[in-house]
């Protein structure tokens, strides 16, 4: 390519082209953002139509009623799911960042974890149906929690690894220099230093799993009332209730489905905001 002298006319043409492409991209961005805003608008508008206190206090009924059993079911299943998934995910994340750092085994685990992170959630439901529901002989909130745990685990493993890696090596060196074993260094120095970040990951995982519907269809199944047990019989969940009510031929129940969708979306977004705030506070604290 030869060096050409500056060509003013050519430059104007290039500037114009760049501006046009700028505008096209801005338009695309506007279109995308407007579409998403439209969905949020519909969600709020229709969700508020069926909103009342009884949504939180009354269980589901054939007419009227609320969603209290579904909200309760989601809290219990997501809670137990996190209780199972978080320790496993945290331990795996710590392994990847500390013990196995740089090893071939760790890179395989990391790769597989990244795939599990976005694996089709309906298949997790099928898998748990075969390994939990069939052996136990019935649908249960526990089976739902196991499915959610399998979804939460990779999220937590990933965020834990990322955050633990950020802990400066000087911390580890200092601890080791004082004669601490690796286990002590990790549990007393590294993990506490990264705790805020790990918590952020857990909050994100809660947000991710509490909105999941597909993996619960064949595991916790659903229930119009409060489940009598976590281990026997179906249990309601908010996404399942939304799915069920959205299919009903009644405006009242459709509105309740929208209300449920609003509740779950607000919950999920709040968790996301909370995790950001905690992340911000912790990282600001560290830099000081």
């Amino acid at each position: 390519m030869s060096i050409q002298p500056f060509n003013a006319a050519n430059y104007v043409r290039r500037r114009t082209f760049s501006l046009i492409m700028d505008m096209i991209c801005t338009l695309a961005a506007m279109l995308g953002l407007v579409l998403l805003a439209l969905i949020l608008f519909t969600l709020i508008q229709r969700g508020m139509a069926g909103f009342s206190l009884s949504v939180f206090t009354e269980p589901m009924r054939s007419q009227g009623g609320g969603l209290s059993n579904a909200i309760m079911g989601t809290l219990m299943q997501a809670g137990l799911g996190i209780a199972i998934g978080a320790p496993l995910g945290m331990a795996a994340g710590i392994y990847l960042a500390e013990v196995g750092r740089g090893s071939r085994f760790a890179s395989v685990v990391r790769f597989v974890n990244d795939i599990l992170l976005s694996a089709p959630s309906v298949l997790i439901g099928l898998f748990v149906y075969q390994i939990v529901v069939i052996p136990m002989g019935n649908f249960s909130g526990f089976a739902g929690a196991v499915a959610l745990a399998l979804l939460a685990m990779p999220v937590i493993a990933r965020t834990t690894e990322d955050i633990v890696k950020l802990v400066p090596d000087s911390y580890r060196e200092g601890s080791t220099a004082l004669g601490a074993r690796d286990s002590t260094t990790i549990s007393r120095v590294v993990v506490p230093a990264a705790f805020g970040g790990i918590l952020t990951g857990i909050l994100l995982a809660v947000a991710r799993i509490s909105g999941e519907t597909a993996p619960l269809l064949f595991t916790s199944f659903g229930n119009y009332g409060h489940a009598s047990s976590m281990f026997e019989g179906g249990m309601a969940s908010l996404p399942w209730a939304i799915y069920t009510y959205a299919k009903q031929p009644s405006n009242e129940l459709n509105n309740l489905a929208w209300t449920g969708a609003l509740v779950i979306t607000v919950g999920v977004l709040l968790l996301n905001v909370l995790s950001r705030v905690s992340h911000y506070l912790v990282s600001r604290g560290r830099s000081q």
């Binding site: 009924r61 054939s62 309760m72 809290l75 219990m76 809670g79 137990l80 996190i82 209780a83 002989g137 019935n138 649908f139 909130g141 506490p192 705790f195 805020g196 918590l199 857990i202 199944f221 659903g222 229930n223 119009y224 009332g225 409060h226 489940a227 009598s228 047990s229 976590m230 281990f231 019989g233 179906g234 959205a246 299919k247 009903q248 031929p249 009644s250 459709n254 905690s278 506070l281 912790v282 604290g285 560290r286 000081q288």
Partner: protein, 355 residues
């Protein structure tokens, strides 16, 4: 900073404790309940009965309309206390899985349409025309064959969108049995079953899903249990019955068809009421069935199921009327109670009315 971190940690520990408390609370909450699953076709009336029963007796019933196919599977696996199916289960399958089958209530399937300007029972359709719509042979609402049946109605040049059940369902079984009975082409190319290979249209889950899809789709036609159509004020065309008469879907027409059933000679009480002869008879009427294990592991739970249906047989009329279901004739109810004696636990009949 340190304070912050401790605060976070304390919050986390608190959250985990709260979750644990919630979880254990769930394990002891709520007393005994009986669980049933299956047909969505009688779901409105079962749910209404359950609410009234809980109010008067305190026992709760958790009924889930998951489709007849799924309900049958669930009771075979004994994961529920009773199963419910619209289509009677094959006698061999009942025997091999040790199940008792009895009818609970009678209901009707109606055709429902969403055409601008067509309301109530305005539209007239015959079975073969409906079959051809579902075969994809009639595609527009202004088709000559539909127009010929409806001289007074202006039909738009709108494409027909047939809606069917995406899940396996007794409603589909009843409807396809009817279409198979009136159209040889339907019988040979698609056949009757609780889930079939449709040649045209869109699938929606559950009676409710079908009704919802009809409501949302211009030019749609679908089949739903009558309660779903009335609750939703849907247009329900008149059908020509076996005797050549035009009938509007209503409780009287359903009752007329129900009266022709021959209960005495039907094995497992599976009396057919589809495409019956009679001037006033609605052609798509069927009983819906309950499945109980004959050898329950917990006889007390089966007894609770029987008590519930006994209560419903005695007190269920108002709810059934309101939702346009037909109660079983009194003689049939007595026959059902006799059959309950076949359910035995430790060699003894579970039901109290046995001698």
């Amino acid at each position: 900073m340190k304070f912050m971190k401790n605060q976070l940690r304390r919050t986390a520990v608190g959250a985990i404790a709260a979750i644990a408390a919630l979880t254990s609370f769930g394990a002891v909450a709520s007393a005994d309940e009986i669980t049933g699953a299956g047909a969505t076709f009688p779901q409105p009336v079962y749910t209404r009965w359950a609410e009234q029963y809980a109010a008067s007796n305190g026992d709760t019933l958790n009924y889930q309309g998951i489709g007849s196919g799924a309900g049958t599977t669930q009771i075979i696996n004994r994961t529920v206390d009773f199963g419910a199916s619209d289509a009677p289960v094959a006698p061999e399958r009942l025997a091999s899985n040790n199940l008792l089958q009895f009818p609970a209530v009678i209901g009707a399937v109606v055709v429902s349409v969403n055409i601008a300007g067509v309301n109530g029972n305005d539209l007239h359709l015959t079975g073969p025309v409906v079959a051809d719509i579902y075969l994809g042979r009639i595609r527009m609402w202004n088709d000559r064959r539909i127009a010929a049946l409806n001289p007074g109605v202006t039909l738009p040049a709108v494409a027909i969108a047939p809606v069917y059940r995406a899940d396996s369902s007794g409603t589909t079984s009843i409807f396809t049995s009817y279409l198979g009975a009136v159209s040889l082409a339907f019988q040979t190319t698609i056949g009757a079953g609780s889930s079939v290979s449709w040649r045209a249209g869109i699938g929606a889950p559950g009676n409710a899903g079908v009704a919802g899809a009809i409501r949302n789709t211009n030019g749609a036609i679908g089949y739903v249990e009558y309660a779903y159509a009335t609750e939703n004020n849907m247009a329900t065309p008149q059908l020509q019955n076996r005797s050549g008469a035009w009938v509007r879907p209503n409780s009287a027409a359903f009752a007329a068809a129900a009266a022709t059933a021959n209960w005495a000679s039907a094995p497992n009480m599976a009396a057919s009421m589809i495409n019956t002869a009679g001037q006033a008879n609605w052609p798509i009427v069927s009983a819906t069935y309950i499945l109980l294990p004959k050898n329950p592991t917990d006889g007390a739970r089966s007894l609770k199921v029987m008590r519930f249906f006994d209560w419903a047989f005695n007190n269920g009329q108002p709810a059934a009327d309101q939702l346009h279901y037909i109660m079983l004739p009194e003689s049939v109810r007595a026959q059902v109670r006799q059959r309950w004696c076949q359910v035995r636990s430790n060699g003894q009949p579970v039901w109290s009315g046995c001698h």
